[in-house]
């Protein structure tokens, strides 16, 4: 079984991103970039499926500028077998990314597509679902556990208030949630080995996709500040304030 894993290059999750003073965009000068945490979980899940003998080949694909080859190499160091870079300038939107991934799927015919539920930059939570629509595949979004048997996949999904289990026919798309697994760290020998793994590059034209824009960012601003309040001395004072000042308990 062949697995395709999509990875995105994003600002490292430890970086506190700020809006530029002129409000034109966020300030990403000299910030550390990394593989999106949910994508890292996707790679880990594919590697575990390979270790279990379910998956025979893992292809890591990323859509973006040439710098995103770094994140493909990270995925290769974690255990993916080869990489595909779809080179696009600027910030392609989820629908365009989904169309490009569909193009890759048509070339590679994977049995399983695993990707993060959302990226921590745009926070859109759209690409997996859109890819499902474009390919007609079933989607197991927000997955916390998957089981593959007899040409189908059972996915336990994180839903409001609990868990939902669905069965999807393969090929299918999985989007990862936090509890699916805990990603490993890449070892130094594997990082060295990853440099020699094959990495192909496609352009949108190769995949017959027109990259279009549907949503324009007009401006960005910091969220409304919340002023710090006061420190109370003890529980008694806290309860008094909540009852008599804030009036939120009686």
């Amino acid at each position: 079984m062949k697995a395709l894993v999509a990875v995105k290059r994003v600002v490292d999750y430890n970086v506190k991103v700020r809006a530029k003073a002129d409000g034109s965009d966020v300030d990403l000068n000299n910030v550390k970039m990394a593989i999106n945490p949910f994508c890292e979980i996707a790679v880990e899940e594919a590697v575990r499926l390979k270790e279990a003998g379910t998956v025979s080949e893992i292809i890591a694909v990323s859509v973006g500028e040439s710098s995103c080859q770094e994140q493909i190499r990270t995925a290769l160091a974690l255990g993916a077998d080869r990489g595909i870079h779809v080179e696009v300038e600027g910030k392609p939107e989820p629908l365009s990314i989904a169309k490009l991934l569909k193009g890759v799927i048509e070339k590679e015919s994977p049995d399983l597509v695993i990707m993060g539920k959302q990226s921590i930059d745009g926070d859109n939570n759209q690409t997996g679902q859109m890819l499902g629509a474009l390919t007609g595949m079933g989607q197991g979004t927000f997955a916390s556990e998957i089981k593959i048997a007899d040409g189908a996949i059972e996915v336990i999904r994180e839903v409001d208030g609990g868990l939902q289990t669905v069965a999807l026919t393969l090929p299918a798309i999985i989007t990862t949630d936090l509890r699916l697994n805990e990603p490993r760290y890449a070892s130094l020998p594997n990082i060295m080995k990853a440099k020699k793994k094959p990495l192909d590059t496609y352009t949108p034209e190769d995949l017959s996709v027109a990259v279009t824009s549907h949503v324009t960012q007009i401006s960005v601003a910091p969220p409304p500040e919340r002023a710090a309040g006061i420190k109370v001395e003890d529980v008694a004072q806290l309860v008094d304030k909540l009852k008599n000042e804030a009036k939120v308990i009686s």
């Binding site: 966020v26 921590i120 949503v215 601003a221 710090a228």
Partner: protein, 309 residues
């Protein structure tokens, strides 16, 4: 302008999140209809017809929609979408699952998690875990939108009298099948609609200690939440998680216990009216957003608090 709001429901009751989505639809102006897609969901359609300001309720009552599988419902929404300018749903697990699939079927983008309507095609939405608010403009003729429920005050649940129209369209994509659902049974209010929320973080040390929050939650009729750190550490299940990647809450009173206040947690609760933080580290970032901060050992403070309220 016509807007279709996708109802959030469980085939028997209309969920409050729908009322927030209707509020966003009304902020966009024009006619508002509601789609109830489910099975044996007549009671939900009746409830939706009571929502003031709603013109028409479309009721697609068919076994194919019973569990609101995205593969099936998105086909229905894409079909009905032909006669609407805007398609809206609350940004719930269901809304997030279904709407992008419908958007792609219509070959349009989606605007996720809007915080406000700035104009017919312009919206505000959080990016980078809520550290930045972006103003975005849609170029699509048809807009597919999910709504952050805490950003829009719910419309009234009763007082309207919309017409109910049966929708006979059946779409079964045949690629997915519902197996089961394990919904946590609780007498407590739901995290996203509770007026009081008490959450524990890594400082709780283990899952058993969450029982210290229960007595207080009982007295305040509060929902219990957790930080991502507490979920990652395995103290409590993921559906407790408050934060950018979990649930977004905005109760009247939010009590953060043993939570340091990571950015991603703050993104999920900082719109609460009153925030209380209990933490033994006086430099914890949570105190920067707390109205009332108590620097104390939570294992002493919680029993005291329970006794005092």
């Amino acid at each position: 302008m016509k807007t279709l709001v996708i109802a959030e429901h469980d085939n028997s009751t209309l969920k409050a999140a729908t009322l927030n989505a209707v509020a966003a639809a009304q902020a966009m102006g024009g006619e508002v209809d509601i789609l109830v897609a489910g099975a044996n969901c007549g009671a939900v359609a009746n409830a939706a017809a009571q929502v003031p300001g709603v013109t028409k309720v479309l009721c697609a009552d068919n076994p194919a929609y019973e569990h609101q599988l995205a593969e099936n419902v998105s086909l229905l929404i894409a079909e009905l979408g032909a006669s609407y300018d805007n398609l809206l749903a609350a940004s719930t697990a269901n809304g997030k699952n279904i709407m992008p699939r419908a958007a792609a079927l219509l070959d349009v983008g989606q605007i996720s998690d809007i915080l406000s309507v700035e104009g017919a095609d312009t919206f505000k939405r959080p990016i980078y875990a809520g550290n930045v608010i972006a103003t975005v403009q849609s170029a699509d003729p048809k807009k597919v939108i999910t709504v952050r429920t805490t950003a829009f005050d719910a419309v009234a649940a009763e007082g309207g009298s919309a017409t109910i129209e049966a929708c006979a369209s059946v779409h079964d994509a045949g690629v997915s099948r519902f197996i089961r659902e394990e919904v946590a049974k609780s007498d407590r209010p739901e995290l996203t609609s509770a007026s009081v929320v008490i959450s524990g973080g890594r400082g709780m040390q283990n899952g058993d200690n969450f029982s210290l929050l229960e007595g207080i939650a009982d007295k305040l009729n509060a929902a219990i939440g957790a930080s991502r750190a507490a979920v990652d550490a395995g103290f409590v299940p993921n559906d407790y998680q408050v934060g950018q990647t979990g649930k977004i809450v905005a109760p009247d009173l939010y009590i953060a216990v043993g939570i340091s206040g990571a950015i991603q947690h703050l993104a999920g609760m900082k719109d609460s009216k009153v925030i209380v933080a209990i933490n033994k580290d006086e430099d914890a970032p949570i105190f920067q957003v707390a109205d009332y901060g108590l620097v104390a050992d939570l294992f002493e403070a919680l029993p005291e608090l329970e006794a005092a309220i």
